[in-house]
Structures are given as C-alpha cells and as structure tokens.
Amino acid sequence: MSDESVLDELPGDLMIWVLIVSELLVFGAGLAAFLAVRITDPAGFAEAQDALHRTGAGVNTVVLVTSGALAAWALRLRESARRGAARLALVVAAALGVVFLWIKGAEYAAKAAQSITWDTHPFFTFYYLLTGFHAAHVVAGVLVLLLVAWKDAPRNIEAGAAFWHMVDLVWVLLFPVIYLLR
C-alpha cells in the first residue's frame, strides 16, 4: 500500500499552505464584512471611496505582481545553481516591496492631510484595517525575502517566495474590492 497522500501533491512545505489558507480566510472574512457593512450605506461608501487614489493602487498592483514574478524566478535560478542571480532577484523583489510600502505611505499621508482617519466613516475603518494589515504582511515579506536571500537554500527560498505570493494573492483580491467596486 502506498503512503502517497493528496497532500504530497502540494508544492513546498505543507505548513506554508496552512498559512496561505489561514490568511486567505482572515482577509476573505474582512472583505465580506466590508461589503456587508456597505449594504447599510452604499452612497456613503461610494463617496468615501472617491477619496482613494486608484491610480496609485493600480501602480502598486503592478509593483507587487512584478515582485512576485522575481521571487518565483529566484527559486528557479537557485534550483539551477545560479546562486548570485537568485539572490539578486530576491533583493530586487524585496526592493519592490519597499516601493509598494512607500506608495502606500504616500497614500496614508494624503489621507492624513485631508484629516481622514479610521473613524471618519466605516469605509475608512475597513480601509485602514485591511490595507494596514496587508502592509504589515508586506513588511514581514520584505524581511523574509532578505532573510532567504542570505540563507539561500532552495527550501528556504521556496518557503519565502510562497509567503510573498500569499501577500500578492491577498492584494489581488483586496485591491478590486476596496478600490474598484463602485
């Protein structure tokens, strides 16, 4: 009898998938709650959403998916024993993570200049909670990418890149719901 299980088909470590699913559930619940609360005041939510900078968020999407591609390339490079190129790809991926945070910081600063805080409207409560929690994951992801660029065993890079792809995955769901659904 074979010991092969369907779990063995998952690429990488099982625990990173547990983390990915957990994070998707947490952010998914947050996004569903956001749209559920919106039912009570769709006009207010639409007006509040107009204060957001959609172009900046769109640029951040490009930045993050490009960074994700570099992290995926890094694993492939490391597996073909091109350690230097893999490390460079990881450092550039981390740098793009910093670019994402810089744009996000500019967005928060613009809101602060308009005296928009988390209790201005329920829209902004969710906006700051969800994007702030995501930004915290980006900070962690940048540190993880730099760590695995240093300790560059293929297994480490695979786990670090998977964490970064989870951050990417959350953003591609968060971005349209918070910024684009009018």
């Binding site: 749209l35 492939r76 349209p176 910024y179 659904l181």
Partner: protein, 89 residues
C-alpha cells in the same frame, strides 16, 4: 506570447490588472453596474488563479488547483452578491 510560463503569467497579471482598472474607470450606466462589478471580480479571480497556478506552482497539482479555483470562485460570487445587495433591496 513568450514560451516561458513564468514570464507569460507575469504578462497576464499586468494585462488583467490594467483590465480591471479600466473597467472600474469606465463610465458605466447605473443599469450596467452589476456587469461592471462582475467583470472586476471575475478579473480578480483570474489573477488569483494565475498566482496560484504559476507563482505558487499549483499547475503541477491539478486537483488542488481545481479546489482553490472553485473555492475562490464561490468566494467571488459571495462578494458579488454582497456588492449587488443594495441594488436588489
């Protein structure tokens, strides 16, 4: 399109991201707001599938890819329902 699946995935993600931004900026008449919302969430689902398949490597685990794809599709349908609820009330 390039032969490298990773490069192709990245180009798809850029294309889909611009697509969803364009859909949201388009001046849809109120009667078609549901269609616009559906398109935005549909594009988000496609982007998530590309990330799962190519970045996270689920293209080599078809059963898991199908499971994640169906779960995310149901989640996007839930979001679409919540988005459309005020108009249906």
């Amino acid at each position: 399109m390039p032969a490298d699946p990773l490069l192709r995935a990245w180009l798809w993600l850029i294309f889909l991201s611009f697509g969803s931004t364009l859909v949201s900026l388009w001046p849809w008449p109120p009667a078609l707001a549901a269609l616009a919302g559906g398109l935005v969430l549909g594009l988000a689902w496609l982007k998530a599938r590309v990330i799962l398949s190519r970045y996270l490597g689920l293209c080599d685990a078809p059963a898991w890819r199908r499971g994640f794809g169906i779960s995310l599709a149901l989640f996007c349908l839930l979001l679409l329902g919540l988005y459309l609820a005020p108009a249906l009330a």
